[in-house]
């Protein structure tokens, strides 16, 4: 018996809809509940499922036409459905629908036969999205049909297996291990903490983090810094720290390695024109990364001033939001706390972050003699999706040369 497809009413005040797309053509077989056409009303696009199974006999309104609600827009005819379904190799598939008493013993055969696999479009779609081979599922519906229930059971079973193998750490992160006892104190996270937490896990999920570590002789820089310390402090009114040297060294090296001053946008690489260098500043209540804009145009002293100013204002909570946005590369310096080597997480959407370890005097071998030198470990975490290991190491090597051979005035 033919059945009419009508324009549905999508709301109390809606009296018409525009057909934007037919998903089936006349003559196509449609299953009940399978998306048949799309309509548009105001700012909403809706997918309308077929109201019956059968052959789409007639389309009465074309794409682009606006139709009043409850108007018949198409006709589905269920006769001949079986004929269509058995087209192909001539082996008629056992039609299960008319069968009143499903033979339980028939089920395995049907599940094994690809052609006989019976499942609704929704179930097929779920299987596709979940990457499930429907042949793995034993249907419990009429005639071995795979029902929604079957796929749900399969999914929760799969989930349970995944659950057992999920590392405990991750469970704790997800708040499952947070069953607090009476003595435990529960404090809600601050907005900054939440934002850091989101950002960290988001970055881990986004980039392929790899870290490479170089050891750098900082003796030349330390000597220069000490020689200029008094003069600089008198002139500028603040103490010269090591950070500006690292910033300047990184900025000059980035000029030769633009890929490290880039980001990914879909399948494109965006090379940033300016080097906006973020410098992580630890605060008592968290961490913030103010940005030195257009650092490629700035001198060592200029950078020193900006680092001092930004970190001071960060601690006074006086940074404006645009001063912590738009960074293209980040420098973090946990060395000031004594850390030797860090493996930082990339500050999205950047693609690399340099971590500076503590500068300490170590006995090192130079020209087969043991010397006392100021040494530091520099580690670079980079997004391996975009940056090859060799490129990262060339960057580090170039930065190492720059720092070890540092000379010149501080102005």
């Amino acid at each position: 018996m033919p059945s009419n497809v009508i324009m549905p009413q999508m709301g109390e005040s809606i009296f018409e809809g525009t057909i934007t797309r037919w998903l089936k053509r006349v003559g196509d077989r449609v299953e009940r509940d399978e998306p048949l056409f799309e309509i548009s009303t105001d700012k909403v696009d809706s997918e309308i499922p077929a109201s019956a199974s059968g052959i789409l006999r007639e389309i009465l309104f074309q794409e682009g036409e606006t139709v009043e609600i409850n108007t018949v827009v198409a006709i589905i005819d269920d006769e001949g459905g079986a004929v269509q379904d058995t087209a192909g190799d001539g082996n008629a598939v056992v039609r299960q629908e008319p069968e009143q008493t499903p033979g339980r013993n028939q089920k395995p055969e049907i599940a094994d036969s690809r052609r006989g696999l019976r499942a609704s479009p929704l179930v097929r779609r779920m299987a596709r999205e979940e990457g499930i081979d429907l042949r793995e599922i034993e249907g419990t519906g009429l005639g071995g049909r795979i029902t929604k229930r079957d796929i749900l059971n399969y999914l929760s079973e799969r989930e349970r297996i995944a659950e057992v193998t999920r590392p405990l750490v991750q469970q704790a992160q997800e708040g499952l291990g947070a069953a607090a006892s009476d003595q435990d104190e529960i404090v809600p996270m601050t907005a900054m903490r939440r934002s850091i937490a989101e950002h960290m896990i988001g970055s881990r999920r986004t980039s392929a983090h790899v870290t490479s570590i170089f050891e750098v002789d900082m003796t030349a820089v330390m000597k220069l810094k000490e020689e200029n310390a008094g003069k600089f402090a008198r002139r500028e009114g603040f103490k010269l720290s090591l950070t500006p040297f690292f910033v300047k060294g990184v900025v000059d090296t980035l000029k030769d390695f633009p890929i490290l001053n880039a980001s990914m946008a879909g399948n494109d690489i965006v090379y940033k024109k300016d080097i906006n260098l973020g410098v992580a500043v630890a605060l008592d209540w968290g961490l913030i990364v103010p940005v030195i804009r257009r650092a490629q145009q700035k001198t060592l002293a200029g950078i020193a001033r900006e680092v001092a100013d930004l970190s001071h204002r960060a601690r006074q909570k006086q940074l404006s939001p645009d001063e912590v946005q738009g960074g293209t590369f980040t420098l973090t310096n946990p060395g000031v706390f004594g850390s030797l080597i860090g493996t930082p997480i990339i500050n999205q959407p950047q693609v690399a972050i340099l971590c500076v370890g503590a500068v300490t005097k170590r006995a090192v071998v130079i020209n087969d003699a043991i010397a006392i030198r100021s040494m530091a470990y520099l580690s670079l975490t980079f997004d391996h999706r975009l940056i090859d290991g060799a490129v990262a190491d060339r960057f580090l090597s170039s930065l190492k040369d720059r720092l070890e051979g540092w000379s010149g005035a501080i102005d």
Partner: protein, 247 residues
């Protein structure tokens, strides 16, 4: 006890759907920074799961790099910039299976995709749009920004400039896509398009209205509060978002 708390969050039991205060639950999922295709893939999976009752109603939040999306009703001529200009500014163009015309998404925007089953909520997409608008208007007022809705121009407006855009899709009454609110959005990107195909109307942002940037997370929380109230939902943050969407 601990074990049962760890049982798959996937299967939503009826008791979870109706918590103590008897309001249906709405699950918040923050997808973080994603490219467009990826976020749509995740959204599709959630929609399918919602249709099957595997998930309760959900609110998805996502952050995008600068992109332009073209709704089904979108006209290519509303894209003003040429491919070269787009490439220079690092903006990609994507077709989007939602209602509405062309729009821009980018950093500093609150993008929310509610995945709701309207079968359990009035079966009315206009009412749905109007309620979304009301959430935005009330939320903006909390930040001291008076805004309005205009008949025949879905979205939320401040002094004739658009601050919040809405574009929705439904399939079997399950909604997807949703809204984008300009919080700290760099409005210069809108020069590339005629937003929502509305010629001669500008755009604005919360930051532009207030003269200062806002914490996106603060705006998000405020939106959630109003959303929960307007739609009569109890809101909880997904504690298992990775298990839910990326298993």
């Amino acid at each position: 006890m601990a074990m049962s708390a760890q049982s798959p969050a996937l299967q939503v039991s009826p008791s979870e759907r109706a918590p103590r205060d008897c309001k249906p639950a709405c699950l918040g999922l923050n997808l973080g920074f994603r490219d467009y295709e990826e976020s749509l893939r995740i959204q599709d999976r959630i929609v399918t799961r919602r249709k099957c009752g595997l998930l309760p109603d959900c609110l998805l939040f996502v952050d995008y790099p600068p992109i332009i999306t073209l709704g089904r009703g979108g006209k290519r001529e509303h894209l003003l910039a040429g491919p070269q200009e787009l490439r220079k500014r690092g903006v990609r163009v994507h077709p989007a299976g939602r209602g509405g015309d062309i729009t821009y998404h980018g950093p500093g925007q609150l993008v929310v995709y509610p995945v709701l089953d309207l079968k359990a909520w009035h079966r009315d997409i206009h009412r749905y749009l109007r309620t979304l608008e009301r959430c935005l208007v009330k939320m903006l007022l909390d930040f001291g920004i008076p805004s309005e809705t205009l008949p025949g121009a879905t979205g939320v407006w401040v002094e004739g400039r658009k601050i919040g855009a809405i574009g929705v899709r439904t399939s079997r009454w399950v909604t997807s896509h949703g809204l984008a609110l300009n919080v700290n959005t760099d409005l210069r990107y809108f020069d590339l398009i005629v937003p929502c195909g509305l010629v001669g109307r500008g755009v604005t942002s919360m930051a532009a209205q207030l003269g200062r940037s806002l914490e996106l997370s603060e705006v998000r929380s405020c939106f959630i509060r109003h959303f929960a109230r307007e739609f009569g939902r109890s809101f909880r943050v997904a504690d298992r978002e990775e298990a839910l969407i990326e298993s």
